[in-house]
Amino acid sequence: MDTDDHDITVSVNGVRYKRRVESRMLLSDFLRHDLALAGTHVGCEHGVCGACTVLLDGQPVRSCLMLAVQAETHEISTIEGLTDKDGAYHPLQQAMHDHHGLQCGYCTPGILMTMTAFLEENLSPSEDEVREALSGNLCRCTGYQNIVDAVMAAAQRMRG
């Protein structure tokens, strides 16, 4: 059987990529293996763990529940684009480092993508709001407490 292939143009972290992909290729696999942007991690492939979270036009979504062909014409942001051009941390990356918000680090890219988008919308969150926003990302190592503290600290810093 011939495979159902499509030519797509996708913008990731501001870089345009033209690729030919099979229609069933998951966006997560496309980013990781076709574009070698392996910082987006895959944990469950059924939309529960949140490790594969990327931003689709600025909004966090599960890249394991999207097809690469669906990203055509959209702007995707991944962990690789989170630092600035000089490699300086986003305030949340810095806060995660300062507060020991990561252990094995596998869930970390998904958490950073989810929570940086959250901070874009809410710079004065309560702890409950942070926990609610974080609840779609599973972490098996940290017990979440230091991640919550990091998000609160980043918010404070970003408020200036």
Partner: protein, 292 residues
């Protein structure tokens, strides 16, 4: 956990999508938010031959005013659009109250109203809410449009009234009457999980605080969302007393036939349905009386 092969077609318009569905029928599936379909495809529990992507059909999304007040929600409207629309939240506080219980932010960014309702998971919150609100579902093919009331749409677990060539294109929600109080509650193992039991209540009061209208619906306790409003018939005509509310709870418990799951026994579900009935009716009554 990779999907089986399929042919992907990005529909350019509603007409295009409907003509493809007319052509391929049950071999094709509409891909909207994909938050239910994609996991089942990754598990290879669903292996559609054709996937018709609706996401480029902008006209399918969005909220617009209904003909007689109320609102019409396009099938491709995402949960997030509802969540961020303050006017909508004021108009339909029942939905606003339920949204935080529906999965997690990333899922709500992508998941669509039409996709959820067409998927018809009986443990999902939205179908029960549609029953409580008296929603009307607008359905279209290349040839015709029709509409059905919410109770006639949900036929069984993951089964709807939709024919192979049809699409749910819009949901129409009537404006609720003045002095209506609503309440959504659910018990789930974790916030964001499907409900073990969820309840949606709409209660309208007259000038003497007498109950003039009541809708009482459930998710998670049957093959479809359950309309248990008849259990509350005797509340009509007077202000609900604690005793009368307890009677409703007992009637609900007798009426429903939950199936149990790995998370809860059927008896627990029945018990909790009673507890939530009492709590949600009380809350809805207070809200109707206090005017919010």
């Amino acid at each position: 956990m990779k999907p089986a092969p399929f042919k992907y077609i990005a529909a350019a318009s509603l007409e295009h999508a409907l003509s493809l569905k007319a052509e391929y029928g049950d071999d094709a599936k509409f891909l909207a938010g994909g938050q239910s379909l994609m996991p089942t495809m990754n598990f290879r529990l669903a292996q559609p031959a054709i996937l018709i992507d609706l996401n480029r059909i902008e006209s399918l999304g969005g909220i617009r005013p209904g003909d007689a007040g109320g609102a019409r929600i396009g099938a491709l409207t995402r949960y997030r659009n509802l969540e961020r629309d303050a006017g909508f939240a004021r108009m339909f506080p029942l939905i606003a109250e339920a949204l935080p219980h529906i999965a997690h932010p990333q899922i709500r960014n992508r998941g669509t109203i039409g996709g959820n309702l067409s998927h018809a998971d009986p443990a999902s919150e939205l179908p029960a809410i549609m029953l409580a609100l008296g929603a009307r579902f607008h359905i279209q093919t290349t040839k015709q449009t029709r509409s059905v009331e919410a109770p006639d749409f949900f036929l069984g677990a993951l089964t709807t009234d939709l024919q192979p060539d049809e699409m749910l294109v819009e949901v129409e929600l009537p404006l609720s009457k003045p002095r209506t109080g609503s309440c959504f509650m659910e018990v789930a193992r974790r916030r964001g999980d499907f409900a073990i039991v969820g309840i949606a209540v709409m209660m309208t009061l007259g000038n003497q605080d007498e109950c003039t209208h009541i809708r009482l619906t459930f998710c998670g306790v049957g093959e479809t969302p359950i309309d248990a409003s008849s259990a509350a018939d005797h509340l009509i005509g007077s202000a609900p007393t604690e005793k009368a509310i307890c009677d409703v709870a007992a009637s609900v418990q007798a009426m429903i036939d939950p199936g149990g799951s790995v998370h809860a026994t059927a008896d627990y579900q029945r018990h909790v349905a009673g507890v939530l009935t009492e709590r949600a009716l009380q809350t809805a009554f207070q809200r109707a009386r206090d005017g919010h």
